[in-house]
Amino acid sequence: MAHHGEHHYNLDQRFDFTASIKKSILTVLVIGAIILGIGIVLAITGGHHEEGAAAGAHAFHWYERLYASLWVNNVFFTGIAIIGVFFFAIQFAAQAGWSAPILRVMLSLGNWLPIAGVLMIATFFVANHDLFHWTHAYLFDQNDPQYDKIIDGKGAFFFWPMEKGTFPLFYIARMVLFFGFWVFFFNKFKQISAQEDQLGGSSHWYKMRSWSAYFLVFFAVSSSVSAWDWVMSIDTHWFSTLFGWYVFASWFVSGLSAITLIVLFLKGKGYLEMVNENHVHDLGKFVFGFSIFWTYLWFSQFLLIYYANIPEETVYFIERLSSDVYSPFIFVNLGLNFFLPFFVLMTRDSKRHGVFLKLVCTILLVGHWIDFTLMVQPGTLGHNGGLGLLEVGMFLVYGSLVAYVVLGALAKKNLIAKNHPMLEESYNHHI
């Protein structure tokens, strides 16, 4: 607008993590834990184990389902956390002004990263044979009847410089390196933000822009490689060259949905009064646009494999589409993550009003969690997978823990980057 009013916003506001909000989150945690407990009991006593044993496959144990569920949530919530840091860095690299008041919300998601890293590594060591086929030593032994030439050819990617089939040093080193650098950059951003709050001036903005650029270069590589390591290597024989982007797109939509939901939640509690429907509209456009981007990648991967019809590639989709367990979820996945956001968020009004966005973003979080379940389960559980109480309970437990950590961290610092040089531009943001 050409005629600006005077703005008197409270820039020192802090989010009050009240006892009642804590109680709601802990209630979800307890409910999730109870559902998870019932799910585990049902999995232990459940009767569908005999089929696997009868078919000559390795016997299915209930805890494999627990491990797969842990892994899905590790990968999914790690993605949300790192996307918070990634989207924060993008704002500086793109010199964006509109987002200045919600920068701290993006950054706060990164507080889950250290915990996610520990959980990821711990789960890997507990569950390695049950989740990752390539961890079995016999695959690399030429004298073993189960020797696998193809996996042997890929062995160095996991085990270098160790002997194949022993300790996956290269794989673990990458995991530690990625989490290490992500947490390092996240702490750097937090540190510069704190300095900016104290000292002011535009020098911190320039510093942040440089560090954002370094981070984005590192993230460009690490996001793809982590997707190969943590998700694609489950189906060890199979590969897809755009898989890294596909996982990234799923992460990005989930992260954007989480950011949008937290912003709307804070606005609902009376914080962030400078964030108006124009900023919300921009967040809505991101969610809308990147839902289409996710669909584009999902479909690009599917169509080429479907059309070329090469058995070593089609196996991935045959495992899913020809399965009683997974084939309905393929369509649920597309419905929740494409058709719903596409048609609901298409109009301008629905992107500017919190009601629609809250609904769509919540559904998208569930939708992309189902997407990750569909990536992980067929290769780990085969026909013993599915969405049961165990999976739902685990999702609620992880979700409430992430919410607790993120909101708790948000309450400790200023909610607004009060000395950000583009705050004034953001107040007058109008689209």
Binding site: Y307, A308, N309, R348
Partner: protein, 176 residues
Amino acid sequence: MERDTHFILGVYDDEDVLLHAVEKVRGSGVKIHEVYSPYPVHGLEHVLGYKRSKLPIAAFLFGMLGTSLALTMQFYMMKFDWPMIIGGKDHAAFPDFIPVSFEMTVLLAAFGMVGVFLITSNLKPWAQPRIFDLRSTDDKHILAIDLANNSSMKLEKIKEILTDSGATEVNKKSFD
């Protein structure tokens, strides 16, 4: 034709003054015909009270038309007109149709939107635009008031409102 031919023009130097002037002029009950500016003035359509464009609806409908045309075309060709087996797939293999349907959706949405925009904005190649003041293509904002729409107001009163709102000149313009 008597109507639509006699106009009072307010000439403004500055977009801030213009935006306030539009509010004042409309507030005093004068109906504005149109404002001509050398560049897009942010917020002008808002103070002029323009309703939101319906162009996105046209784009959506043309896009849907593109999708249905593309799907119909492909189904007709591949299933009935000239069935071929490609890559061992069904004749009507739906996933194969999506890239073409997507492209046709985008093409018709874009063409339809441009066409509707040109027609509703009277940008036909043979259209003869009325030039109110040539300086509106250079450095002046021109606020045009149609006298036929403001017959209840005295001419002198309108001129006074324009001058008070910060117009550097107030001119009369008639078209044949």
